[in-house]
Symmetry: C2
Subunit: 297 residues, 2 copies
Amino acid sequence: MTASIRKVAIVGGTHGNELTGIYLVKKFQQFPELLHRSSFECETLLANPQAIALNRRYIDRDLNRCFATEDLANLELTGYEDLLAKEIANRLGDKDRPKFDVIIDLHSTTSNMGLTILPSSRQPFNFRMAAYLTTLHPDVRVACGVRCSQDDPMLRTLSLLGCTIEVGAIAQGILDVALFQKTEMLVHEILDYIERLNLGKPLATPSSLTVYQSISSVDYPRNPSGELQAMIHPQLQFKDYAPLHPGDPMFLTFTGETIIYRGEDTVFPMFINEAAYYEKGIAMTLTKREQMGIATA
Amino acid sequence: MTASIRKVAIVGGTHGNELTGIYLVKKFQQFPELLHRSSFECETLLANPQAIALNRRYIDRDLNRCFATEDLANLELTGYEDLLAKEIANRLGDKDRPKFDVIIDLHSTTSNMGLTILPSSRQPFNFRMAAYLTTLHPDVRVACGVRCSQDDPMLRTLSLLGCTIEVGAIAQGILDVALFQKTEMLVHEILDYIERLNLGKPLATPSSLTVYQSISSVDYPRNPSGELQAMIHPQLQFKDYAPLHPGDPMFLTFTGETIIYRGEDTVFPMFINEAAYYEKGIAMTLTKREQMGIATA
């Protein structure tokens, strides 16, 4: 990064039943001075107002899958979230004409993912910022989607820089003060990191970072009609980021049979038992754990 | 109880996003022999099919508040759940003409309520059965609604005998194998208890039972527009059934102020931070803890 960061967007309510980000953004809207830093502007957005009002993830379609460039350009997509995504892209800027340098999108999950940073792209800034956060909180984890690029359909990809903050385990539709406070803390630390970078006094980052790189997802065992046949195995439930070795239990069927992991390599599952992913056919995402070198800014 | 029990109904999916009961009932429907006992018939019901299909608590209105006698008789109530309640009352029998002797309704909660039995009425059978379960599992708790009678609007009140089984903490829309198995175990133990009673060889019950008797509910602090101003205090979150003493922290506002419990007596909150109760204006239900003598059958 040579150019400085001038505009940052903090987004909540991309999913209308993830209250942590929604109430944190409402707090920031009530007390905008909390976001004030000397070297850049910060704006907030509650992304999906109708879903928030109904306390649902979405109305017609998952908003956080509506930001593929081709979908934003497709005028035939006219569902509530399709139109909303176009409106948000207009406000935050299209991928090729961003109006914000950094977007931070606040999410929560029923998976036991603690504090996870999902970078918007593979830009070095994103990994340096995440690496900085791990120096403050060794329990912060950094996970990349398979592509981890602006080709992804998530809201965060409207800018190259930034991330999703994913906290859990927490049920949809509730606030947990511990996760609320930790999310708030991470937002402030990100803003402070940007401030110091802008001021030419960058905060120290470690020389390497552990990254959980998504490889693939695994669906629940289902019958031919698509009905669930098994649950996450008790030895795997709430064990996001723990190693899953070949032969380890993965699912337990309703009739009590264990289904093991048949892969050849040890993997590190995340998004284990995320409520919103049952309908997407995802019981968990498998990642490999990698060490990444971090160059100084 | 002098008359024997001839028909038992096991109900799941009264709330369409509480998967534990839904998938347990589906399992029983696939393997009906699991419910077979020599002295009575057992039927199953998935109560709210549309809500189950959409993975929502309800479509128009909480089905588990539609069984007040006056509402069942009110032909002007024609929402989806209003009509569904009339259909279910027709199948399971009206309160004054029950077709089932015992109804067991399977629920889950985002509150940390472990395994809770909510009796359908104050009939001695219900408390004896619950007391029996506490001898098998000291962590089973028994909680009564304010009235705990057939005047309540819950589905379970279609019969005098029976209960709701409420398990948690679990997010809406997910299965947790541990809670699934514990719910299944409780259902079997209830059926076994009934079987032995019918056969004239009742299982031994303790002479007293701890009951958490609901007194009142407490809403979240809100501003005049109804917006939440605080979260459950971290010292209270997940502490269902623990004593709350006068002066103990109850809520933490978004700006960090602690709001204390100002009652005069120690109480034992339950349904702390239940997702579905935000809209009902219930942050928790306060109970008093009582010892109840149990007469032998």
